[in-house]
């Protein structure tokens, strides 16, 4: 595990697109006037004929991608998660998912760690909106290494997929050799005291919390649920059985996110008490990312305190 590799997760996406540009002529990239922010400008510079900037028109973008996919293209639709999942939800539902089209949706700027732009730009409901759609696969990678692999994997997948990215540079908690398989949870640490599931870049805070807990001789099992849908049911049930209770951590609303997905599995298969660290029924707001994470109870310190209370 590399602990000092600080890089925005969207760089992993940008690099994967460059690789796909070279290896798969059917891959096209669409953006809605945010290409420097989402890193699709890297692809645009190398492959200008395969990059389509639709202007600030997310609904049009999703359906143009739908049309392209009907002709065998693999379009990666990219913009802020809050805009593509919200504004273009009907296009995603009624055209992309209902018609089972091979369109990839990439929502950057997920979570409150977007920071100063405030609540209007922080996607905290994107996972909920995407995972309720039939036929949709939902990927929430934890760092730029994993974002790279997830991008490559969803390009191979036939059908709609959503990839969540974040804005901030975060510490990488995997490396280039870490296995990645859609739908297969990644056990980062096996510990004896409790099970903690997380998804996304919040993993960096979770790993810092683990360091704090180790000093107190507390050893949680840490599981990276990079795929929210299809969720790794076996893994969820296995650890609920082992510990009797499970905890989830995510930079998303408590309603409909990772915690809800885990709760659905447990309620039907192995009812177990849960603690969900998430955002409870409110919007985000402006502030520096570290200040916001702490204020919302999602900093390493707050997470470690909650884990300590939980066991």
């Amino acid at each position: 595990m590399k602990t000092q590799d600080l890089k925005p997760i969207r760089d992993g996406y940008g690099n994967a697109l460059l690789e796909l540009g070279k290896t798969n002529p059917n891959v096209l990239v669409l953006d809605a006037d945010l290409s420097t922010s989402t890193r699709t400008n890297w692809f645009a510079e190398k492959f200008p004929d395969r990059f389509i900037d639709v202007g600030i028109a997310e609904q049009n973008m999703v359906n143009i991608a739908a049309g392209l996919s009907l002709e065998g293209k693999i379009p990666f639709v990219t913009t802020y998660g809050v805009f593509v999942c919200g504004r273009a939800f009907d296009q995603l539902r009624n055209t992309v998912c209902y018609s089972q089209l091979n369109v990839k949706i990439v929502g950057s700027h997920g979570g409150i760690s977007v920071g100063p732009d405030g609540g209007s730009h922080q996607a905290i409901e994107d996972i909920a909106l995407m995972r309720i759609l039939p036929n949709m696969t939902v990927e929430v990678p934890c760092d730029h290494f994993q974002a790279y692999k997830a991008t490559m994997k969803i390009a191979e997948l036939k059908g709609p997929a959503f990839l969540r990215l974040a804005r901030e540079a975060t510490v990488a908690i995997t490396d280039e050799n870490t296995d990645f398989e859609i739908g297969k949870a990644q056990i980062i640490i096996e510990g004896d005291d409790c099970a903690v599931f997380f998804a996304g870049t919040i993993g960096a805070e979770v790993m810092k919390a683990v360091e704090l807990l180790h000093k107190k001789r507390i050893f949680p099992t840490i599981i990276n649920m990079h795929t929210i849908k299809p969720i790794d049911k076996e893994c969820v049930i296995k650890y609920a059985k082992k510990f009797g209770e499970v905890m989830t951590v995510e930079e998303h609303l408590q309603a409909g996110g990772l915690g809800s997905a885990v709760a659905e599995v447990l309620a039907e298969n192995y009812p177990a008490k849960m603690k969900m660290l998430a955002i409870y029924d409110r919007f985000g707001e402006s502030g520096q990312p570290d200040v916001l994470l702490d204020a919302f109870g999602l900093s390493a310190e707050k997470i470690s305190t909650q884990i300590e209370k939980f066991i």
């Binding site: 202007g55 996919s69 293209k73 009624n94």
Partner: protein
């Protein structure tokens, strides 16, 4: 597909299409006759003269593509597909029933010949832009046709696509607006005024053609004109009558989404048949 070249043949085909539209909606007990009937002449010319396709090979790469943006006119699309040989006419009677491939609004994953699912308005033109752009990228010479309702033009997304297509010089794209001037809540100009409609499309950079959407020779001429336009998309604003061909349905917003009862069906079929037997 057997191409119909004579105006009389196409006129008769449009009446056959109308006959099946009314019949299948009555059998289903619900559906949208008004906007299906108004597009019957446009659809007949598209499917039996203008477009190239192979109903035995629905995914033939060089086929022309048709997107029904006004998805509620599904009975029109299904009837055209059946007459074109994609499936048996007898299947039309399964419209809207459980397990039928003929869903209330077109579902592409169920029925070959339906390029993409529609039903939520305002999306077909954008999808068509994507297909047309792919055609350009791949240097294919197929054409893309999409039929929009006029009420549908209220949707903002239509105007996003209206900007996109000329920007990308999609001269392989032809949009057709079924301008029957009625939407569910009434006169389009009272609900949400569209006029001056031609000036709007002109201003957006389209080649705009205004026609009587029930005059077969005008429809044929409009598509011919579309073939000659270079570097910009074409839109045909086809003035039509909602419910065209069934006297008591004509120009009545109430027949947007209602099935005829037994007596009404009988009268409707009698009227259509009288024109077919001429």
């Amino acid at each position: 597909m057997k191409k119909l070249n004579k105006i009389d043949q196409l006129k008769r085909k449009a009446e056959e299409i109308r006959y099946d539209i009314v019949d299948m909606i009555a059998e289903a007990g619900s559906g949208h006759p008004g906007g299906s009937l108004s597009g019957a002449d446009l659809g007949s010319v598209l499917f039996f003269n203008e477009m190239k396709y192979d109903s035995q090979n629905p995914k033939w790469q060089d086929r022309d593509r048709f997107i029904l943006s006004k998805g509620h006119a599904a009975p029109l699309l299904y009837t055209l597909l059946a007459h074109a040989g994609y499936f048996e006419r007898s299947e039309l009677k399964t419209l809207r029933k459980y397990k039928s491939r003929l869903q209330g609004h077109p579902a592409s994953y169920m029925l070959p010949g339906v390029e993409v699912s529609t039903g939520s308005l305002g999306q077909g033109l954008s999808i068509s832009c994507g297909i047309a752009l792919a055609g350009k990228l791949d240097k294919k010479d197929f054409r893309v046709y999409t039929l929009l309702g006029d009420g549908e033009l209220d949707e903002g997304q239509v105007w996003e696509a209206a900007m996109f297509a000329p920007h990308k010089k999609l001269d392989n794209l032809c949009a057709v607006v079924d301008r029957n001037r009625l939407q569910i809540d009434g006169d389009t100009e009272k609900v949400m005024a569209l006029e001056p409609l031609r000036a709007k499309w002109d201003a957006f950079g389209w080649h705009t053609i205004l026609i009587d959407g029930h005059d077969i020779s005008e429809i044929l001429r409009a598509f011919k004109e579309f073939h000659s336009v270079k570097d910009k998309p074409t839109i045909i604003l086809a003035h039509t009558v909602k419910g065209k061909g069934v006297s008591f349905m004509e120009n009545k917003a109430g027949w947007h989404g209602k099935a005829p009862n037994k007596d009404e069906l009988e009268q409707a079929l009698k009227e259509i048949k009288a024109r077919m037997d001429v």
